[in-house]
């Protein structure tokens, strides 16, 4: 492979959603940018994502992510088509017991419920004991296409992208970023954006920073292609594995999965592939370098719960399963975004956990402003690395 010998303004480490979108926003404004990814684009959390474009959290994080969702809505039609942007109908499904417990344990969460037989069209493939439902919509993109499409846009604006290129060191001199060393050569650069997701702490250690990110594993099972099993809904959500709602289940499930947190069941139809995606799990692992594989205990639980809502799913073959590591801030669960006082030119862009798609769009734009103008149109101070020192 050819050797890299480059000089640029900004080097982004990580070809996930945030890396690709930041490269796009920078290159669009004419900034020289290089993106370095050690595998293929979309290999980390985004590569195992189910594609939700959602706001999350509360306060200013929620408003920012809402702005991110709006930016997707406002994309041109051609781009929307390329990234397979779509809005799908969602049906949340509950049993009488679910609703009874929700009223008691999560007051207010039983709003807008209706009886299953009030649905406009019946959904006979839902399990018989589903008696309550709630309708809503969710916005989706194809998470893989998102990365590739915006990386290509960035390339058209002049960005260079090196995949299968591993960063081995960051050159810092007099407290300033000077360059990035890789296994394929060196890049002289003024700014480094650490968008390495669950692997961001490894890059952080290269400049002496301790970034409190923990990998949170998610797992998905994919069925063989099938016509949709429900008439009007692509996504089914349920609270059937919530250990908050069903604390007595915690012991039973934790015998299988020692460190799992389950708060919902997810079954999604992907029209592009014609498959159902079954999933929904979160659990922390220690080392992102220990290549994660689907965990049999979790495979069992996911299959069990998906079939519990749509029994006919049981007849479908599972053709593939995969896991991904979401980067979660161990201190407060908020993103870690922006400059660090310790090293001039070193910028953090991680901690966007399960809401990375909406986050990537808005934080990509704000990081581009930060690098070009040293100021952002929306405040991002509360996501800065310095918050850990105050605490």
């Amino acid at each position: 492979m050819m050797e890299i010998k480059e000089e640029t303004e900004v080097t982004i480490i990580g070809g996930g959603a945030l890396g690709c979108l930041t490269a796009y926003h920078l290159a669009k404004k004419g900034t020289d940018v290089i993106l370095v990814e050690r595998g293929d684009l979309a290999s980390g959390a985004i590569g195992a994502s189910n594609g939700w474009v959602v706001p999350a959290g509360s306060g200013s994080l929620f408003s920012l992510l809402q702005a991110g969702v709006k930016m997707y809505q406002e994309l041109d039609e051609e781009t929307k088509k390329r990234i397979e942007y779509r809005v799908a109908n969602v049906l949340e499904c509950f049993t009488d017991e679910d609703v009874r417990r929700m009223k008691k344990l999560w007051p207010g969460t039983d709003q807008n419920l209706k009886k299953r037989d009030e649905l406009e069209e019946p959904e006979p493939n839902l399990a018989d004991d589903i008696t309550w439902v709630r309708e809503s919509t969710l916005t989706y993109v194809n998470p893989l296409k998102l990365c590739y499409v915006f990386a290509n846009y960035a390339r058209k604006f002049g960005a260079k992208i090196f995949t299968r290129t591993k960063v081995t060191d960051i050159v810092v001199k007099d407290g300033k970023v000077r360059g990035v060393k890789t296994d394929r050569g060196e890049i002289i650069t003024k700014f480094v954006v650490n968008a390495a997701g669950a692997w961001a702490p490894i890059i952080g250690r290269m400049v002496g920073l301790d970034i409190p990110i923990v990998p949170v594993l998610g797992q998905i099972l994919v069925t063989e292609p099938t016509p949709p099993l429900l008439r009007n809904y692509h996504t089914i959500l349920g609270v059937g594995w919530s250990t908050t709602l069903y604390p007595e289940k915690e012991e039973e499930w934790s015998q299988h999965v020692k460190f799992g947190i389950f708060e919902g069941t997810l079954t999604e139809y992907w029209p592009g592939e014609g498959s159902y995606l079954l999933g929904g799990c979160r659990f922390q692992i220690r080392d992102p370098e220990h290549a994660p594989q689907p965990i049999p205990e979790i495979t069992k639980l996911i299959a069990e719960h998906a079939i519990r809502y749509i029994p006919k799913l049981g007849r479908l073959h599972i053709i593939r399963s995969y896991v991904g590591l979401r980067p979660m801030c161990a201190v407060d669960g908020l993103p870690i975004i922006g400059n660090v006082e310790e090293v001039e030119g070193f910028i953090l862009a991680t901690g966007t956990d399960w809401y990375g798609i909406s986050a990537a769009m808005i934080f990509g734009k704000l990081l581009s402003e930060l690098i070009r103008k040293n100021a952002t149109s929306e405040p991002i101070d509360e996501f800065s690395y310095s918050r850990f020192k105050q605490a």
Binding site: M1, G39, D40, L41, A42, S43, G47, L144, K145, C147, Y148, A151, N152, R155, I161, T163, R164, L221, V222, T223, E224, P225, H256, G272, E273, L278, Q293, P294, P296, E297, T299, K300, I302, A303, E304, A306, I307, L313, G314, R315, L316, H317, I318, I319, R320, S321, Y322
Partner: protein, 95 residues
């Protein structure tokens, strides 16, 4: 009777997901230089056979388009299960 030869670009390379040679070549030209990258962009290799049939063909196309040696191309990532298994079986398995 002489069979009319179709344009090679329209040949289906991934039979499971019905992805044509043209789509594969376009993905390679847009920067996908591994089987996994081509898969992410085109869905080739995501179907029932999980790339067992098309991996070699796609790798040859990558080598042809980019000049990378076939031997230097990384293998596709293998995702369990190794063969399709009914969801019900997973739900019922003893752990």
């Amino acid at each position: 009777m002489e069979k009319k030869k179709g344009k090679s670009d329209d040949v289906i390379v991934c039979r499971c997901m019905e992805v044509t040679e043209r789509e594969i070549r376009e993905a390679i030209r847009s920067g996908c230089h591994t089987f996994n990258a081509v898969k992410k962009v085109t869905r080739a290799g995501m179907g029932l056979c999980q790339g067992r049939t098309c991996e070699q063909i796609i790798n040859r196309l990558i080598a042809e388009e980019t000049g990378i040696n076939l031997g230097d191309l990384p293998p596709r990532s293998v995702r369990p299960p190794l063969r399709p298994i009914k969801a019900k079986k997973f739900a019922e398995m003893e752990i």
